[in-house]
């Protein structure tokens, strides 16, 4: 038996100190940590429980925007009327994720930090080579079954896909991760793979996610999260898009547009080239379909996942046309 110690943090400061110990992990909802421990990827020495800390589960919605505490449950955020009004895409990204049971347990901070579903990452006994687990050991996925692997932001060190939905919606609306001493945009919080796929975020030792903040926007109010997959529930995205849109007063010309992608990239992927191509232009189906293809510039496929390069622009297009009232 692998024993690990459990400690219940008395305060946030206490938690920060405790996780400085080697092998210490924050425990909130536990849905990712337990899963990774069971498949032998994570072997905690200590878990530091923060799930009871007062105030960390607050959800605040006002004219400034939305603030979500790190240990708010996915289901609570998805069902919050204020969130639904200010950012339909955020609510939808949560309710389309995981299963009802997981959504009732999993927290927002943990959701951001969920790790890839790459089968090679998750099977250390059969596939010792994984640069994410053991830097420098190689990538077992390259040359293997890659149907659900990323096509954007990959390197020859790692092609794993970021599995989450919420972070995709957050990236679209310039959400900020509150780390207490510093604030980092969600987009900058996640690192592209490059040479160090084991380094997935900018989180430093001793840092705890306190929550996320999203500034209110017209585009946020007119937003959607479109998730495409074979199974209708409880499956990760083959491709997904979070989209928000604001028209000029003419009701036709794009003043502001936000596009982010899930299921196709190593991190929650903001598609700025698509946004730039559409701002100032009238929203028309053909223009949108053309612009959506720009998101795939630089995409790299390992055959099984080639379809994602075709699929993702179609998902973007449908999502934009849906919020634009043209679908």
């Amino acid at each position: 038996m692998r024993d690990f110690s459990y400690s219940r943090a008395a305060s946030l400061e206490d938690a920060r100190q405790a996780i400085l110990q080697p092998g210490a992990f924050v425990l909130a909802g536990g849905t990712t940590l337990l899963d990774l421990a069971k498949c032998g990827v994570t072997e905690p020495e200590t878990v530091v429980d923060i799930s009871h800390l007062a105030g960390l589960d607050a959800i605040t919605v006002d004219e400034e925007g939305v603030t979500i505490g790190a240990i708010a449950r996915m289901s609570a955020v998805a069902d919050h009327p204020g969130v639904q009004a200010a950012f339909p895409a955020i609510s939808e990204s949560l309710s389309l994720a995981a299963s009802a049971q997981l959504r009732n347990m999993a927290t927002i901070g943990g959701n951001l930090l969920q790790r890839t579903r790459c089968a090679y990452f998750r099977d250390p006994a059969a596939f010792p080579a994984c640069n994410k687990r053991v830097p420098g050991s190689g990538c077992s996925a390259i040359g293997g079954v890659t149907r659900n692997h990323a096509v954007l932001g990959v390197s020859d060190k790692c092609i794993a896909s970021y599995p989450g939905d919420l972070a995709v919606a957050l990236v679209a609306f310039d959400a900020v991760v509150d780390l207490g001493a510093r604030q980092v945009t969600v987009e900058d919080f996640f690192l592209p793979y490059g040479d160090a796929p084991e380094q997935e975020t900018v989180l430093r030792p001793g840092e705890v996610i306190l929550g996320v903040k999203i500034r209110a926007s017209a585009a946020g109010m007119k937003s959607t999260y479109l998730k495409v997959r074979d199974r209708q529930s409880y499956e990760f995205a083959a491709a997904s898009a979070a989209v928000g849109l604001e028209f000029e007063e003419d009701g036709v010309t794009v003043r502001d547009i936000r596009v982010a992608l899930g299921g196709v990239a190593s991190k929650p992927w903001r598609a700025r080239s698509v946004e730039q191509a559409l701002i100032g232009k009238p929203l028309e189906a053909e223009t949108v379909a053309w612009a959506a293809r720009l998101a795939m510039d630089g995409a790299v496929s390992y055959s099984d996942n080639l379809y994602k390069i075709e699929l993702a622009p179609r998902v973007i297009t449908r999502a934009i046309l849906t919020v634009g009232g043209l679908a």
Binding site: A119, Y120, A125, V228, D230, Q232, S233, L311
Partner: protein, 763 residues
């Protein structure tokens, strides 16, 4: 085990055969009161975990166990070095090789995920951790990853599966219209909710095994032969099974490991497979490929069918997945040829998975027939009816009953098929393409001898006792209904005891042969028990009926009475009290008179030797069905949703329609999963199925399943079984995948011939 009070529905006649009773044990299951094999409290139990190979082929050269043995709580480590003293057990048909040792942890590695070691510790957690400390060295050999590996070759021809009549090649060549295509299905898995596992306990030279089992007597024999024990020294306990689908019919290597460890340790051992180990410790449905060529006249009269099938098998057993099983009997055809080959690859030996053979076979022929329909511009329903088989062209025998025509026409009416627009891509709502398709299915009627015991107790209750099992299909309930009808006591007065190899032998719960076989035995036994009771009531000196002058008596609604209805009438408890009897026990079986010896009986209950196939009598006997599917395909994303299904079945008489409908729907749901999601992803480099968990190997969720309308068009078939039913468990899945694939073609104009119908094939 005593079953809870049955719930009654509607009229009193509901309790008889044909009534819509709910499952007797349903409430126990949903409230957690039903104890499953791995939950039995067994004192002093130790916990075993399996360690499996991470290479596909080769040899274990060494296993360093020192660190594992030194780990806390570890009691035993078993490796290929350990002499377990086991002997090979008989095969399915009862044939046993002489003096052949059995190694459940073999040194030779034949597939990725083969068990090669086991660690036993005081707790499961200790065992899991210690298992990680084994240092295993291999001598790797070249592997054949799957059917598509360039090294796989063409395999071996299975001569016994070749079928033919007429001159198929010539008739095909002469046909004005021809189509030919290859259809394939991937490696598929059972994914029962309850994982495999067992608890084994020795008491001297007696072995008790708590293990989910579709066949307690078959597994009893497996264990007895492995360990060299008399049959009666082994007891298999399996009152509840959390899903089998063909995977729990025989004892498997892990069972031998757990029982051997228990013997070595002198204490009970529990072994539960992890979910990934459930993908490698027994075989799923083999991947298949088949080519089908159809020849027809321009107006759609079939002239010839040429079928060539391949399926993967392991390197150590030739297991056919008969892609030619449904091909010869669905349609009238004068010229037919079928051959099947097995292709050895490095995979665990494939097993039986719901609708074995018939399922992938129907995917081929039922897609091909619709391809022909579109080629000649004919409604696929009309083409099927035009080529309706009036008898079995393969055996030359008449059908016992075949209401496939009614299934097609009544199913079509319920579905609204006449409103169909023929051209592909001609039905849509916005970006959603809508399509309709048909898939027919069939499964043979198999019959096996069975035994049953009826006990009439002093308190007036009647027990039905059998070693048969109930894995959710309703054995408990229909046996109470059967005994109720044959004996004349209400179902509330009946207890059913099942799932234990000490009880009378029974057909396997597989091949859809249990219900038809065991109801026959119970009916016969219950009638004999009633007759015995009447005999005692008429003749026993202590019986109050002695003075009535009656020369016969009736048993009805739990009362035994003189026939006039106005004389003496007692309930069973009153009669038993008068007779001074605590218990009357009657056992009967359906073996022929010349096979009543103990050896014959044991052989009948524990092997397939006496199973009768569909054409062993004067008739050809099968269940039939026709599925009508509506799909909605997103034109941009390629996602397929099944939005509506109507399925019409001919399964003869239904012993309990509510449970039959539930089984049909279960089969259809599995068929939807097979059509849309299910596929083992094999890594070609090491033959490992990498999506070996329920997060990545997808089965349907509720959201994927529309309302499933099921219709019975059957009539009682007394050739098929004593009570007139034909099998219901397997046939439901057969034909679902082609119905959906055909609907997808109708929706999109794209013919996908390899399952599953995932989105990348349609964008």
């Amino acid at each position: 085990m005593t079953i809870m009070e049955p719930r009654k529905h509607g009229s009193a006649s509901d309790g008889l055969v044909g009534g819509r009773l709910s499952r007797f044990e349903g409430r126990m299951k949903i409230t957690g009161a039903a104890t499953y094999a791995l939950e039995y409290p067994v004192e002093g139990v130790a916990h075993a975990v399996l360690v499996q190979s991470t290479i596909a082929a080769g040899r274990v050269t060494s296993i360093d166990t020192s660190a594992a043995l030194a780990a806390p709580g570890v009691l035993l480590v078993l490796t290929p070095e350990d002499e377990l003293g086991l002997m090979t057990a008989s095969d399915w048909y009862g044939n046993r090789p002489e003096n052949q040792p059995y190694f459940p942890l073999p040194r030779e590695v034949s597939y990725n995920g083969q068990s090669i070691a086991a660690v036993v510790a005081e707790s499961r957690e200790l065992a899991v951790e210690a298992a990680k400390l084994l240092r295993i060295a291999y001598d790797e050999a070249p592997r054949v990853a799957d059917l598509y590996d360039p090294a796989a070759g063409k395999g071996k021809l299975m001569e016994n599966l070749s079928a033919g009549w007429g001159d198929a090649e010539a008739a095909l060549a002469a046909s004005p219209v021809r189509i030919e295509a290859e259809y394939s299905t991937p490696r598929e898995y059972h994914v029962a909710m309850e994982p495999h596992g067992l608890t084994a306990r020795w008491d001297g030279d007696r072995l008790t095994v708590w293990e989910p089992s579709q066949w307690t007597h078959g597994m009893q024999r497996n264990y007895a032969e492995w360990f060299g024990l008399p049959l009666e020294n082994v007891q298999i306990v399996s009152p509840f099974i959390g899903g089998g689908f063909g995977s729990k019919g025989v004892a498997l290597a892990y069972g031998a490991v757990a029982a051997a460890a228990a013997r070595k340790l002198g204490r009970p051992v529990r072994l539960a497979l992890t979910r990934p180990q459930n993908f490698t410790s027994y075989g799923g449905r083999a991947a298949t490929r088949q080519t089908i060529a159809l020849g027809a006249t321009e107006d759609g009269v079939l002239q010839a069918i040429v079928h060539r099938g391949f399926n993967e098998t392991s390197t150590y057993a030739d297991v056919p997945e008969q892609t030619g099983a449904a091909t010869p009997i669905l349609y009238k055809v004068e010229n037919f040829s079928s051959q099947s080959r097995v292709v050895p690859v490095n995979v665990v030996s494939p097993g039986a998975l719901r609708g074995p053979g018939k399922n992938p076979s129907a995917f081929g022929i039922e897609c091909a027939i619709e391809e022909l329909a579109y080629k000649i511009g004919m409604d696929p329903l009309e083409l099927r009816l035009k080529n309706y088989a009036d008898h079995d062209y393969q055996s030359g025998k008449p059908w016992s009953t075949r209401r496939l025509r009614e299934a097609l026409t009544e199913g079509a009416d319920a579905f609204g098929w006449s409103k169909r627009s023929h051209a592909p891509r001609s039905m849509r709502e916005g970006r959603t393409l809508i399509g309709w398709g048909i898939g027919c299915g069939t499964f043979p009627v198999l019959r096996a001898p069975s035994a049953a015991m009826i006990r009439i107790l002093g308190n007036g209750r009647v027990e039905v006792v059998s070693g048969a099992i109930d894995m959710g299909q309703g054995t408990y309930t229909i046996l109470a209904q059967t005994a109720s009808e044959a004996f004349g006591v209400p179902v509330e007065q009946i207890d059913v005891v099942l799932g234990d190899s000490r009880l009378p032998g029974s057909a396997i719960a597989g091949g859809s042969m249990l219900a038809g076989s065991i109801t026959g035995a119970v009916h016969k036994t219950a009638a004999a028990a009633r007759d015995e009771l009447i005999g005692l009531a008429l003749n026993d000196p202590m019986s109050p009926f002695r003075d009535t002058g009656a020369n016969t008596l009736t048993v009805s609604e739990g009362r035994i009475s003189v026939p006039s209805g106005e004389g003496l009438s007692l309930d069973l408890a009153e009669l038993m009290a008068a007779l001074g009897r605590e218990e009357i026990e009657v056992t009967r079986n359906t073996l022929p008179d010349d096979a009543q010896g103990l050896t014959d009986q044991n052989n009948a209950w524990s092997s397939m030797a006496r199973v009768q196939g569909p054409t062993m009598g004067d008739y050809s006997m099968h269940s039939w069905c026709a599925h009508f599917a509506e799909v909605r395909v997103d034109e941009d994303f390629g996602t397929v949703r099944v939005s509506r299904m109507v399925s019409a079945f001919d399964c003869g008489r239904l012993y309990n329609p509510k449970m039959v409908e539930s089984q049909w729907r279960g089969g259809i749901i599995m068929g939807i999963g097979q059509a849309l999601f299910e596929e083992g992803h094999v890594d070609g480099r090491n033959g490992r199925t990498v999506n070996n968990n329920v997060g990545d190997y997808l089965v349907p969720t509720n959201a994927d399943i529309p309302d499933l309308q099921v219709i019975s068009v059957g009539v009682p078939d007394y050739e098929a079984s004593a009570l007139g039913g034909k099998g219901v468990g397997e046939v439901g899945i057969v034909g679902v995948a082609p119905a959906i694939a055909n609907a997808v073609f109708h929706a999109t104009g794209k013919r996908i011939r390899d399952l599953p119908l995932t989105l990348e094939k349609l964008i």
